[in-house]
Subunit: 308 residues, 2 copies
């Protein structure tokens, strides 16, 4: 069974002091830390392309896993909605070349936002099993600094740039259990790019998340024959401190199990869940973790991952 | 086993007389029919969005298959590099809403060009099997009329707009056999969009296809323990009449089995293979078909599909 073997990441060292940015919009430190959740927002160098962030994360993964020969990678999926080029070609092809992977690699991009990692692990596992492939790289990289207007108080204090790389293969330390997905395109206008600038209706997105995510997690647990006592941690998309806190409260079951860790990263879109897993899961004694991503589309996905 | 149950399509009725277009560039009818391969190039109405083409193809599929309740669709993948919006949201979310599908649908876009259908059928089958889903829609829609410069003689005589919808599920009439994939991002600059306009280095793409595709098909057959005698038809991407003819000759094995059918459609990108399958495969007595897509990325994929 194909599962998650390792996760690595790239978070740019430079970025924005979010307290200073908050002051510009007359937001105090309590708001920045308590509601937004992030004191620092990493920003890629303007000369770095999305593919460069992917390469940094993948090279960190190769460095952490010397037993993984990059020539053995046979599938590469990049989850992004802010790729290098305008529509075509796909960013994963550029990453194949920059990483020096074999030309025998299957590569494509998945267009999804904050739900992308949950979809992505099932998409790559399924593709590998359907096509008989052995070593997969699932990369997330959605640098919103390319599209966020620094004068838009609704978005500029939220998003951070980052990329993650997940090695998928046999004999994995974490297996994929049951998953559930959802889409409501009637909410598509709440998160969109027009003339190169990102717009978000924060209130609508907050209400959507609060309405959907706790109920979705309960359905997932019920259909898996589990309760929250069986889950060691909930690693949900780090949209903001306020949304993680609100989902945890509304879920009504051990809110302390909801991991919140975005002080130094901001909302990194599809990278937020793998960043949590990388930092908190692999060295833990957790046996079972629930993940949930939600956002652009509107789109949501929740899953149970567990040790074999 | 999830397989291909049905395929439907939408080809706009209006479009360009390619002989007239050829005359503008001093190309005669022999060139247009013999080298380009298309007398007519369908063009969507400027008011039609990519999602509208998807909806037309999906509605044709529902009309052809009254036993398929649209509320039973639980996954929707759109293969496109020319979606409705700028990067986000994904087109599949918009299609979910326009089709009136359940919000329990898993939806995402795959960014691939002319290789997209071969990748797409394995991606949706794998995702469905990994996530336990039952009825999938794989839609291709990549209207190049949005990006082709009508004054560019290298591209404007080639591409036609179309969309296809494939129903994937259990008890299918066609099953997916062995597949092989490849990517060479060093060739990414040969097909790309800059400032909204598509550029193609036709000679490089032709050479790439001729170098890769016949060899790739031979490898696929060898690794499947098959020869060309075991395959009833080769349905490869209809890049142009010249490329289909050249691949068939270079393959050196029953060139008459290579289906060529683009006179009324042009190069429809990821829709070209499913258009062939819809028109020629379902009512045939074929038992085994080889498919191969190649293009943007550079990216290629070949597979055997067969009756159970």
């Amino acid at each position: 069974m194909i599962g998650i073997k390792s996760i690595a990441s790239y978070v740019p060292a430079s970025g924005l002091d979010n307290y200073a940015q908050g002051a510009k919009f007359e937001k105090d430190e309590e708001f920045i830390l308590g509601k937004i959740g992030s004191a620092f927002l990493p920003r890629k160098d303007p000369a770095q392309e999305t593919s460069d962030l992917c390469v940094e994360a993948a090279n960190a993964l190769f460095a952490n896993n010397p037993q993984l020969d990059r020539q053995s990678i046979d599938v590469l999926i990049v989850v992004t909605q802010n790729g290098d080029e305008e529509g075509l070609p796909h960013t994963s092809a550029i990453v194949q070349d920059k990483l020096g992977l074999s030309t025998n690699v299957a590569a494509f991009d998945i267009s999804l936002g904050c739900s992308g990692y949950v979809y992505g692990i099932y998409a790559i596992k399924g593709f590998m099993e359907a096509a008989g492939l052995k070593n997969g790289l699932l990369i997330t990289a959605d640098p919103y600094s390319k599209i966020v207007d620094p004068e838009d108080r609704n978005t500029t204090m939220l998003f951070g740039d980052a990329a993650t790389a997940t090695w998928m293969g046999e004999d994995a330390t974490w297996q994929l259990g049951k998953a559930k997905f959802g889409t409501d395109g009637s909410g598509a206008p709440h998160l969109k790019v027009t003339d190169g600038v990102f717009y978000m209706n924060g209130r609508q997105v907050f209400n959507f998340a609060l309405l959907k995510v706790p109920a979705h997690l309960h359905e997932l647990l019920n259909e898996s024959g589990l309760t929250s006592q069986d889950v060691d941690a909930f690693c949900i998309h780090q949209g903001s401190a306020a949304i993680v806190d609100a989902v945890a409260r509304r879920f009504e079951g051990e809110p302390e199990k909801f991991i919140k860790d975005m002080v130094e990263t901001g909302n990194t879109v599809s990278s937020s869940i793998p960043l949590l897993l990388e930092k908190h899961m692999f060295d833990s004694n957790w046996k079972r973790v629930a993940i949930s991503g939600f956002g652009v589309g509107l789109s949501w996905g929740s899953a149970i991952i567990h040790r074999p």
